[in-house]
Every structure is written in structure tokens, then in C-alpha cells.
């Protein structure tokens, strides 16, 4: 860890004021401190926002608002989340460990960095960490890497489970910067790596995430999150699926499908949603609908199983919802 200066902010205004070039906000610290120890990031200045009142889980006109500083554990257990949006609660509960969920915040979760082992090891090249240095993952140990949205410069997945659920529900971020407030669809927030994988999202320097709004979607009560991983807890997804369905008279009226562990960002699958619409809620429909889920995928030497796994993970989620 490199030396840095530290300041604690008590308000949004103070936080914005204290942030500057090369600064980082400290929320739960479960990503930031980790990466600072590894010297993957070395901010000159750390602005602690744990006392900034970005709290609250409440229903509003535009849907459910969740303050950026709410902890993962608190959000997962909240009745305004668990009942109307099981997919969000399940995604959170299958994330990390209880200890981490007690510390980690919603804002921090959405801004967590990729788990690519090369990104996390400063002794190796990485275009995301050091633009232009190269990407060893393309020919290296890439079993956990992405198959969708990749480029020659970067094949790293976005690791957040929550972001997958929120992408399925088309959530919006509230942002506050020196220039004022704005909102942005989460779907438009994360960038594809292309030739500039170090530019991960649309957050402007010094800008704060103040909260997330999940649009009202009554039928999202019928939603679920399926996460496939190498052990049953405390591990990132090999593949995950966030699925919600609106079924009437045994027929699927609407569907939301997003996937994790396969894309360089949370991956919404509108083609699968489309293929489900108007079909009977049963396994044959699901299997047919996912046939093209992985179209355009670029599997790597060690993750050739991911297209099939993606299709099957979605089917499994749908089967749960049918059951």
C-alpha cells in the first residue's frame, strides 16, 4: 500500500469538495482497501464517505429508492426489497460472505472492480490497469473470463451479482457531482472495454453515486437469481441469471433476463426476453428461447463451456419460476 492522505466527509457537499484528482471515496472498503493493499490502485487521497447520509430504502413515485451507503446485508433483508424484488435479495444473499455483506455498500458494490487475476496482480500486464500494457488473459488462465462484450484488449467480467439483478430490472443510478445531479440507466452506465478497458463506466471524476432506483414492476415478485459457482458460498459466478416473468393464464406476457459471469458488463438478453414473450410457461419454451442466448459469444481456450452454461443457467432460473 502506498502512502495517502485521508479525510472523512460528513455531507455530500463536503465529500464533493474534498474529492479531487487521484482521490477515491471509501465506503465499505471491501474492494478499495483490498486493491490498495495489492497496489492495483494507489489513490493519493482517500475520502471516507461512511458518515455521509446516503441512506434510506423507501418507496417513491418512480419506484424503490436505495441509498448508496446502505449495506448489502441490510438491503437483502429489507421487506421493501425481498418481497417485491426477490431477484435483488437473492443476488445479494449469494454475494460474497456475511462479513463482507455487513460492511459493503450498494454504491461500492456497483463500482467493484473485475476479479480478473491479471488485473489484480501488478506484476503482470493489464490494459485495464495500465493502458496499452497488454492482456495476458486472452491466452492465459481465462476460465472465469467473459465471452460476451469482449475485445482483444480485455476479456474481464464485471463481477457484481447485484448489478445483474438491477440490470434485469432496468434500475437507474442517481449521481451527484460538482456540476449537479443527474440520473443514468445502469444499462448505460457500464462501458464495453473496446480499446479502452480502463474507462469502465460513465462516472465523472469526483462524482458520487447517491442512490439506485428500481422501477416499480409489480410482476417482478416472480423473479429469481440463479448463481452457478465452484463452491456454494463466498465465490463469484461462473455464470448467473437474473430472471423475472409476468405470466397470465399460463402464458408469458413479459420477461426480464440478464446474465452475469459471462459478460464484460452485466448482460441483458433482450432476444431471450422476446423469445419468451407470448409463449407457454414451460420447459420447452425455455429451452427454445435460450437457443440464441450466447449468439456472438467469443469463448476462450478455457471457458468454452460458458455458452452452454449460460443457456442452462437461464433455463434453470425459469424452471424455478415455473415451479
Amino acid at each position: 500500500m502506498r502512502p495517502y492522505t485521508y479525510a472523512a466527509a460528513r455531507s455530500v457537499g463536503e465529500a464533493l469538495e474534498r474529492a479531487g484528482d487521484g482521490s477515491a471515496y471509501l465506503a465499505g472498503g471491501t474492494t478499495l482497501v483490498d486493491l490498495m493493499k495489492l497496489e492495483v490502485v494507489s489513490p493519493a487521497h482517500v475520502v471516507d464517505i461512511t458518515a455521509v447520509p446516503l441512506r434510506g430504502i423507501r418507496r417513491g413515485p418512480r419506484g424503490l429508492f436505495i441509498g448508496a451507503m446502505e449495506r448489502m446485508a441490510d438491503v437483502a433483508g429489507h421487506h421493501l426489497v425481498a418481497e417485491p424484488y426477490p431477484v435483488v435479495a437473492e443476488a445479494l444473499r449469494q454475494s460474497a460472505s456475511p462479513q463482507i455483506r455487513n460492511m459493503a455498500t450498494i454504491g461500492g458494490n456497483l463500482l467493484q472492480r473485475t476479479r480478473c487475476g491479471y488485473f489484480r496482480d501488478p506484476a503482470t500486464p493489464c490494459n485495464r490497469r495500465e493502458p496499452g500494457s497488454g492482456c495476458p488473459a486472452v491466452d492465459g488462465h481465462n476460465r472465469s473470463h467473459a465471452i460476451l462484450g469482449t475485445s482483444d484488449a480485455c476479456v474481464a467480467t464485471h463481477p457484481s451479482d447485484l448489478a445483474v439483478a438491477l440490470t434485469a430490472l432496468d434500475a437507474r443510478l442517481s449521481l451527484r457531482g460538482a456540476g449537479g445531479e443527474r440520473t443514468l440507466r445502469l444499462a448505460d452506465f457500464y462501458r464495453l472495454p473496446g480499446g479502452t478497458p480502463h474507462l469502465e463506466n460513465e462516472l465523472r471524476p469526483g462524482e458520487l453515486i447517491t442512490g439506485v432506483t428500481v422501477p416499480a414492476l409489480p410482476w417482478a415478485r416472480r423473479s429469481t437469481y440463479v448463481k452457478v459457482r465452484d463452491r456454494r458460498s463466498y465465490e463469484f459466478a461462473l455464470c448467473s441469471a437474473a430472471v423475472a416473468v409476468h405470466v397470465k393464464g399460463g402464458v408469458i406476457r413479459e420477461a426480464r433476463v440478464a446474465a452475469g459471469g459471462v459478460g464484460t458488463r452485466p448482460w441483458r438478453l433482450p432476444a431471450v426476453e422476446e423469445a419468451l414473450r407470448g409463449r407457454p410457461m414451460r420447459t420447452e419454451t425455455f429451452e427454445a428461447a435460450v437457443a440464441h442466448a450466447a449468439d456472438g459469444a467469443r469463448p476462450l481456450a478455457r471457458n468454452a463451456f460458458k455458452p452452454a452454461l449460460l443457456r442452462r443457467t437461464i433455463v434453470r432460473a425459469l424452471v424455478h419460476l415455473a415451479g
Binding site: E39, G140, H141, V228, D230, R231, R312, T313
Partner: protein, 733 residues
Amino acid sequence: MARPSMDRIDARAKVTGAARYSADHKLPGMVHGHLVTSTIARGRVVSMDLDAARAAGGVVEIYTPDHRPAFQGALTGLAAVFAETRPPLADREVHYHGQIVALVLAETVEQARDAAALIRVTYEAQPPNSSFEDAKEHAVSPPSVPGLPLGVPIKEPENVDIKAALAASEVTIERTYEIPPRHHSMMEPHAAVAVWQDGRLTIYSGTQGPAAHAMELSGVLGVEQADVHVISPYVGGGFGGKAFTWAPAMLAAAAARELGRPVKVVTGREQLFTVTGHRAASSQTFALGARRDGRLNAIEHATISQSLGEDPGYRTTPKYYAAPNVHISMKITPGLDLPTATIMRAPGDESGSFALECVMDELAEELGMDPIELRMRNYLESTLKGKLPYSSKHLDECYRVGAERFGWSRRGERPGAVTDGEWQVGMGMATAVLDAGRAPTTVRVAFRPNGTATVGNATSDAGTGMWTVMAMTGARALGLPADRIRPALGDSALPFAGSSDIYGAVGSAATATVTPAILTAAREAIAKLAEHAATAEGSPLRGADDVRYAEGRLTGGGKAVTFGELLTLTGTAEVGAQGTSADLDTTHAYASYAAHFCEVRVNRWTGEPLLSRFTTVVDAGAILNAKTARGQITGGVLFGLAAAMCEEGRVEGATGRISNANLADYLLPVNADTVEFDVHFLDHPDTRLSPTGARGIGELGTVGAAAAFANAVHNATGRRVRTLPITPDKLLA
């Protein structure tokens, strides 16, 4: 019958933090060391820019290949075979990724780490030869090591023509099983605090064998063994990784001598993967020839591994099944640019049992026979070579009792036959055999005026429960409650016999080794005490010729006195004696046994194999402490299952880098992966082995567990995974 069962006497100290592990020691004037490791696997250090590090606050010294603390000798004994023989910082050559290239010493641990991060190393890198996969085809027969049976081909009969025997068999199968490298990943990292005084070294260093550690350090440092005092009362897991001496302890000791100050070196979690040993990858090919009725005619077992430490052929194959024709061989892949391999919990036994117990399952399927029935048809009654009878073998009972407890009869004979919703349910079983033995050792038992008795031996407790077993055995031998016994262990100054007992807690033999010596020493100590009572000035029993000892009291001449009162009256600090256990009776062979039964549920869509039930029935002689014994078995089973479920060191062939050298990416099972293990102990004390009748169990659970899991996965899905671990991607239909 109620089995003795006692809570660990060290439990409170451990959960309250009162137990001090090596790195917990702080000495006045102590300097903190941080290791710097190489980022290439093969080549040379061309230059090191130390200016920034030197200028950083608190730095006391930086050792590099050009400026290293002095070592006078090399590792001796088994360490010369199973540990890294090249001294740390020996020269500028780099032989593996993650090799130590510098040691930074500073006033605080943060300063040491900070300065270490400022060191820039320039390398002249060469393409490494780090791929075990590629090296396999160039594997060679290992050179024989005098006194060591590993790697030596085994043929039965001596002139066996195994190919002909296989060809003559009614049914033959040949299968290859691959196991990736594994790392001990014990909770407590290798850590040492070293301090010199008057040419003598005292070192707090977590080790499985304090006396061997002292011997090895003395050789490396060029001092007498008696001048090295190793103190290691608590060890946060060893699993073979702390059986021998590794660079961090050597560097701490050498730097402390050089600097004239105490030095602490704690190995970083990532560094443990490379600067200390690991279980080498192995590739095993089994060919079995059998009659249609299941009787084995021929077993051929050929292994390739990085080094001798992992020899499944020697360790496994002769101990399981009777066959008239057997051929076992091993090749190694020397010269790989990889970290040094060593022994790891059930070395060779774990890997060998995986392959053998899977291939037996495959043969059973081929023959259409129940897997237990196939094993019973080939039941081994005496050793393959020499035909020695086993001292006490109840493996058949393990199968019978285990099948009953587990509900083996409900197993679907046809793979994939049993489903429960989206889950495919399968059952598998496997056998575990672990050579049992013990070494003669010396224990000192002494009575003290405060009414307690000490029981001391230079063994260690790496979490195994030795503290408690010594207290319980001492209590039994002296007729005292266990809380009046003060065990002493984890100290090279304590007694040992100088046989292989010098290695302390290895080979699952510590309990079998130490407890009989406690009985001997207790007898001697009681005799000494009685003599003291009859002769010492101030003794109320003085002059009596009928002194007897029972349950802490001495009687004689019509009088009685407790030993505490006696020693107080005679003003004696302690009365005690050493006793050495007898040699092993070599007319028999000794082994512990278990039968594992495993149920898994595999998701039909996404392939995750989840453990759902596990039963183990154990035949390990007398169980001296049911509670810690159960802990050893469940821990061992999970250790073995980990290899089946998720654990795997991933080496990048092109760079020699271990790509998952941290505990986030190196997956060990978590609680959610486990179940409530059903462990049942048979009760057949092995009194031929020793008067306490206890055989080893520490590694027994580990043996065979992975095979039981793999066999269950096959039963659930019809898929046979022969490359560990069995991750979901390998089970996608």
C-alpha cells in the same frame, strides 16, 4: 460402551487468543522482515534498485543475493529430500516464480512491507520450463534415495510380466487420473521469531517436529543441535507443510545472528504458495485385469509426478487388494521451474486412493458388480510382499456397518437412475487404508509438590489434539484427573528418542508413538516416587518397605500421603523419570482402515455437484479421545473432498506463475459445501501395535474421500471425471 471424550484442554486459550503462536511473539528490539519474491520463473536477477527502499523510514537492512546473511550448511535428513535444498538468496539465479530475491528488515512490519514494495528488480528472463503437462512425456525414473522406499518399482512376483498377465485376464480396463497441485494453505502461515544469545539460537517457529526443526536449522547455521532451541507449543495447521524447515525460518535465524537483534519473518499468504512446499501434481495410469467373477489377476500402476514426495504407487497399491500379478512404477519430472514439492497430508495415499478407488468403481461397473462386493472378493489378508499378517484388520466390518448406516442398498445400480426434481442423486463409496506405525520415543513424567504431574515429549500439536491426548493418557497412567496433568510439547528441549520420532507429528503416528511411552514413563516415575517416599528425609513413609502408589496417594507402613504433600514435606521440586517405548513388533503389518460412503446431488441443468451426505466407518484401533478423533476424521474427509470439489493450484505453463495464489481464488470448501458428517468408530484396540492400542487417524479421513465423491458423481450422472477437481463445467451434458 462410552468412549473417553474430552474437550481440548487448549481450546479456551485458542478461542480467547491467549495461545501464542510463533508470530505472536514480540521481543524487545525486534526487527520485522518482509520477503520479496521473483516475478519470473527462470532467469537471472540483473540488478536491484534498492535506493528508494533504503531511503524509506525504518529500514534496518536489506538482504539480497549479493548481500545475504551467512549460511554454513545445508538441510540434512529427510529435509534434504522433501524440502528446498538451495539456501535462500543463494545466488542471482531464479528457478521458479515466487522465489525469494530479497528480505527487507525494518523497525515495524508496515515499514518492512512498504520498503519491500519500493524495490525494483530487473531480470534477464528465459522461457521457463514450468508445465508439468509438457514435462510428463520426458519423465524419468527417479534416482533411488538410500533408506527411502519411494519411487522404487514394486513387482510381484519379482519376474512379473504384467502386460502378459493383463492380456490373459478376462476383463481389463485401463484409465488415467490427473490431480493438480495442491497447497497446504494452513491457517497459520510459516512464521518465525529468532533471537540469539551467547551463540545459542532460540526460535519461535511453527513446526510439526521441534527436534527435527532444531536439527535442520543447526545444520544450515553451522551450530550444534543443542544450541538451537525451537519453541512451538501451538501450530495453526501443518499438514506436512511444517514437517521440514523452509526459507522463512532460515532467514529469520540467519538475519538475527547477523544483526544481533531479534528478527521476525512472517510469510505472506501469496508467498506461502511458492516459498514453502506443496503437493505436486500427479498423473496415474491404472490397468486392471480381472476374472468375470471379480477376482483381480493383475494390477499395473504407473505414476508420473514432479518429485518423490507424491508416490501413490508405493503408498497405496500394495495395501488394498490381493492380486497375483502386480507392477508398480513411478517416474518424475525433474528440473521443472516450479516451487519445491514436499509432503502433504497423506502424501501419495490421497492421490493413490483417488485413482485406485475410482478404477475399482469403473471395474465394478464393467463387471456389473456391486462395488463393495468387488472389494470383498479381493480382500487383502496379508502384505503383498513378505505376506505378513495384519495386526488387526476389520475393513470388512467397516463396509458392512457403513453400508447399513448409510443406506447403501438404496443406491441406484444404473447411473442417472435416481432424481429428485432438478437434482440427480448418486451414491459412491471408497476404501481408505493408511499404514499405521509408531516410533520408539522418550517421555518424561514428573510429580510436583503442587499436586500436578508433567508429561513431556518433543512432539507437536498442529491442531490435532495432542495436548489433550497427552493429558488424558497421563491421567490414565497415574490415576489422576486430567486437569492435574500438565502436558509439555512443542519444544526441542523436551525428550525424544532420536528415532524417526524426531519428526514429531507426521505420518499420523504421533498419538501411537507418544502414548505408549507415557505409560512406560509413568511406571518409571511411580517407581521413583515410591522410592523417594521410602527414603527421603521428611517423608512420613520413610523406612516403609511396602510403599504403594495409587491415584495420587502413597501408602506404606500404615500411613498415607498424597504425592503433593510428600514432595512439599521433603522439599523436593519434582520427582520424575524418563521412559522409552519398546520397538515395534515386526512380525505383523499395521494399518488403519475406513470405508467412506458419499451422496451427491448434481444439478441436471448447470452441473454443480453438491455434497449431501457422508458416512465414514473407521477401524483405527483404540480411540483415545472420541471428540478430537472425530475432529481429525471430519477434517480429514473434508480435506480429501476439497480435492474433488474445488481445490486446485493453477500453474501457468508459459510463465510458471500460480494464477490463483491467494485464498480468494484458491478455493477451499466453505461451511456451505459441507454436511454433518456421520463418523463411526469401530472398537478394536490394536494391542500388538502398542499397549494403548491406538493407531493413526490424522490422515485416514483424507484417504479415499475424493474417490467416494467422484464415484457418487458417476452414479448420479453417468459421467466419469478423472481430472480433479470435479467442477460444474465438467458435468455439463
